[in-house]
Amino acid sequence: MNDGASYLELSRRYGFAPKPESASRLTQLVSRQDADLDEIAKVINKDPSLRARLLRVANPEAENEAEYAVETVEDALMRNGMGCVLVLAMSTPLAQALIKTFQTMLSLKIETVDPRTAAPLAGEQLVCNIDFTGKVVGHVLLRMSAEAGRLIAAGILGLPPKEMQDMNEVRDVAGELLNIMTGNFKSNLCDAGLECKLSPPDVRSTGDFMPSGARAGSVEHMAFHHGNIQIFVDVTANPWSDD
């Protein structure tokens, strides 16, 4: 039974890894509906990676920084509001969970790459989706080639890749990969008071994936790469839903 231990004591007892500080801070700020944009801008400006990502989110049509119409954090926040900050706050633990999953369960170092310069997926691909509803509404979409899915599934299940032919097993692994990622960010959101529920993962194989349109500034596209494995992750989020 719990001996009245605090969350911090339990985190130490169970050996939890610390949560990304800037993402936690951002989520806490966004969870306050009267959050001060200057305060949020300060947090983002202190973290070069967050700043670069915010400007990328705020300039969805630009192919490089020279084409940015929105050039400052303050301008991006004024134009796009809390939606873009929430996307940033959510995608940080998502990206870290994906990288950690590869390190932990596959002993592979997967790296983030600029999604604008990453080669698009060709041929059959696995598309995995998890919706979330509650005080935040949106979805996380993960895509990879069917072959990458097969390699990842073989690695996670400890099988030689040539033995990994059952696509149902490959889809189950892909769904669990997304489950692990979204479970991590859900904890971050709930801790900040943005309670939400996740749908079970929907995983399908398709040869003609068409991205759905999302309002500029409320979607972050991410890409990851290791050898023959390329993974795309899109996060969309809109705060303050009463659903």
């Binding site: 039974m1 985190s11 939890f16 097993e169 769904g175 979204t182 904890s187 996740l198 079970p200």
Partner: protein, 128 residues
């Protein structure tokens, strides 16, 4: 006698990983895909240890844990939570219900062995 471990997770992938993790040891692995099946398996099999996920269809892990702890015949079975969710409310609620340990996904097989071996005896199978 083999150590009996009940793995309750809706993901076949995780159940397979748990099975593989304990394969070098003298363990019998029993599987269930949700909390309802997990409770039935716990009553039927009387496992030495339960490894339990949180988010599952039909009955989630927190509900299963609560029901397990209400049942005099099952409440002493030790439980390790194995989940991607480590949010404050979940962890406090689960700790209050009573778990022996908590492992956040993604995890290394050695971490699960280390936590399990603090609770049950894991005997290596003799090399063939």
């Amino acid at each position: 006698m083999a150590t009996k471990i009940l793995s309750v997770d809706d993901s076949r992938t995780i159940r397979m990983i748990v099975g593989r993790t304990f394969k070098p040891y003298n363990c019998q692995i029993v599987e269930a895909g949700n909390g309802e099946e997990g409770l039935a398996a716990a009553a039927r099999e009387q496992p030495d240890l339960i490894i339990l996920d949180v988010t599952m269809p039909v009955m989630d892990g927190v509900t299963m844990l609560g029901k397990l702890k209400e049942d005099p015949a099952l409440k002493t079975i030790p439980v390790i939570m194995l989940t991607a969710e480590s949010g404050r409310e979940n962890v406090l609620q689960i700790a209050k219900l009573g778990v022996r340990d908590y492992l956040v996904k993604p995890f290394k097989e050695e971490q699960l062995i280390e936590k399990a071996s603090r609770i049950v005896t894991l005997q290596k199978k003799p090399a063939v």
